[in-house]
Symmetry: C2
């Protein structure tokens, strides 16, 4: 498939040049640091408040730190970042608004629930590829405590959580996209459609998101004329163990076997035996920090040559599920290649 | 200024071809229909619930209606819209998620508070200009009752509102951007930075947003090497009467006189003497419906040749202002020309 072809039903973009990830950074919380991927994060914050007064300010602080570190890793200064594509899980994106004001960079605020980093990378790559910017930043964050407060119960309430539930990752991943530097190229993108199968269980987000992940992965494979084996890994954001099973089943029904190829950032980030995180990690920060800490390095080294990265989001608010609405899913696919 | 020039401090984009607004639609509420612009809206919904069960579903219904009408006005069918750039004011964009699922179009969810239609038009134009899509949709909505519930008090509480406060518009504006058709071209964009002057009064959003509007307008004039008179109108989103005074003062301090050139969608949409709306209208829907109903037609007819459209947003949530945070502003500038 070529750029500029608008075949009916095709939604993917094949980048001709392909913007490079010229720098990235992961800032994670203490629990994430104690997990299986702990050694790979750039920064592990021991204090969940990051020295701030509120959970929301703490999340903003994660963004500030990740943004500046990614800029440093790219060998740039703030004024060389032309646009920022960023978001978080909180109502009206307050973690992003207050976390990025000091950058003084024009901001496109994004919301794709936990798929936000996919949306940010897609739009950022589109901007760089088209020549609208030399360098842009794509970033997403989440914080366990600000998310629990936003979507579920105050932490002090000590509610019980079903085994299908996931644990919101405290972390922020930030990426600088540009035309020169680094060894990881964004060669394609498959922006996601909203898929609503009518599921209503906000404590089982993996099941709500799996159909959207399946839709995006299938469209990616069809649009690019690829088989799953053309990717070293197909990596979803935060389906967790329940969602993974459903995705593999759905993919099998669509004629694709992902067994051995599929990986999920939410499953990788925590040790479910020792960390009591049930189905896995979730949140915008989950796939963003795993991408920065683990996926980009494996692609940069050439251990992996091509990966389909598919952050997944559950579209809901406390208002929508309290009003009995379903929880639709969305997933944005990003093709990453070693170069 | 040319496309692809990355001069330090410049953030604007000059489109070479310039995507066209090939169709648009405005759906407004009863109160908006009774205002000075009532005769220009495509649809006026007499029932604030639009026959739905909740305010949020009613807002989603506004989006559905505006989306289909814009597609019809552009002479397209749903499957010819390649991407959707859309947002609303509600936490986690639920009006958009549930309002657009039936379109089955890949969605980029956006949040720029009341500036969202500017963000959506900017990204949509970038996508069409670069050849990523033949046609895209840019859309934003708000609903008085869902916004009051989200940000302020339940309607039943009957709180008093200071004269600096604005009235959230019930409405949705939808725009189809493409390469052929229509007489209004998007020739440039100035994406906005977040500007935080430390103001904390969420009941005076005009004052909170005026500095951001000033920043974006000044950067637009500098980046494009224009004077205010090079525009037939410079039209902000929802500064209202208080914000307008501040903007004109700020602009004067920056060496620009906007007197007679400045217009504000929030001031135009209601009659403050008879409609008890205090400083004016606000909400994502305010600038979006005024653009579709009044600005695009005047540009299409040639009555106006060039307009700078600057939707303005106040970045806050009930959490952020209850925690004592300031209310930063953002404004995205879109250059629209008759062709």
């Amino acid at each position: 498939m070529e750029r500029g072809r608008f075949e009916k039903g095709k939604a993917s973009i094949a980048f001709e040049e392909g913007p490079l990830i010229i720098g990235c950074a992961s800032v994670a919380g203490k629990k994430e640091g104690e997990g299986p991927l702990g050694e790979y994060f750039d920064v592990i914050e021991p204090d969940p408040m990051l020295g701030r007064e509120t959970w929301e300010e703490a999340e903003s602080a994660l963004q500030k730190e990740a943004a500046d570190l990614a800029i440093e890793h790219a060998g740039l200064v703030r004024s060389e970042v032309r646009y920022l594509f960023a978001g978080d899980l909180l109502g009206q994106l307050i973690a992003t608004s207050f976390g990025t004001v000091d950058l003084e960079v024009p901001v496109f605020g994004l919301y794709g629930a936990c798929s936000t980093i996919g949306e940010a990378l897609c739009l950022g790559a589109m901007a760089v590829e088209a020549g609208y910017a030399a360098n842009v930043m794509s970033m997403a964050s989440s914080h366990f405590a600000s998310a629990e407060k936003q979507f579920r119960f105050p932490l002090e309430y000590g509610n019980q959580r079903p085994f299908s539930s996931t644990w919101t990752v405290t972390g922020c991943g930030s990426f600088i996209l540009g035309k020169k530097g680094g060894h990881v190229r964004i060669t394609g993108a498959t922006p996601g459609k909203i898929v609503d199968m009518g599921l209503k269980d906000s404590m089982n987000m993996g099941a709500c998101m799996a159909p959207a992940a399946c839709d995006t992965i299938c469209r990616n494979l069809e649009d690019f004329g690829r088989r799953p084996e053309d990717y070293d890994r197909i990596i979803t954001g935060d389906l967790g163990e329940v969602g993974q099973k459903i995705l593999l089943d759905f993919m099998r029904s669509s004629g694709y076997d992902l067994e051995g190829l599929h990986m999920d950032c939410g499953i990788e980030i925590f040790d479910k035996e020792t960390q009591d995180t049930h189905a896995g990690g979730s949140g915008c920060g989950c796939s963003a920090v795993v991408l920065a800490a683990c996926i980009v390095p494996k692609l940069a080294s050439g251990e992996w040559r091509r990966v389909l990265f598919v952050p997944t989001g559950a579209l809901m608010s406390s208002t929508s599920y309290n009003e009995g609405q379903s929880v639709p899913g969305i997933a944005h696919g990003i093709v990453l290649e070693h170069c």
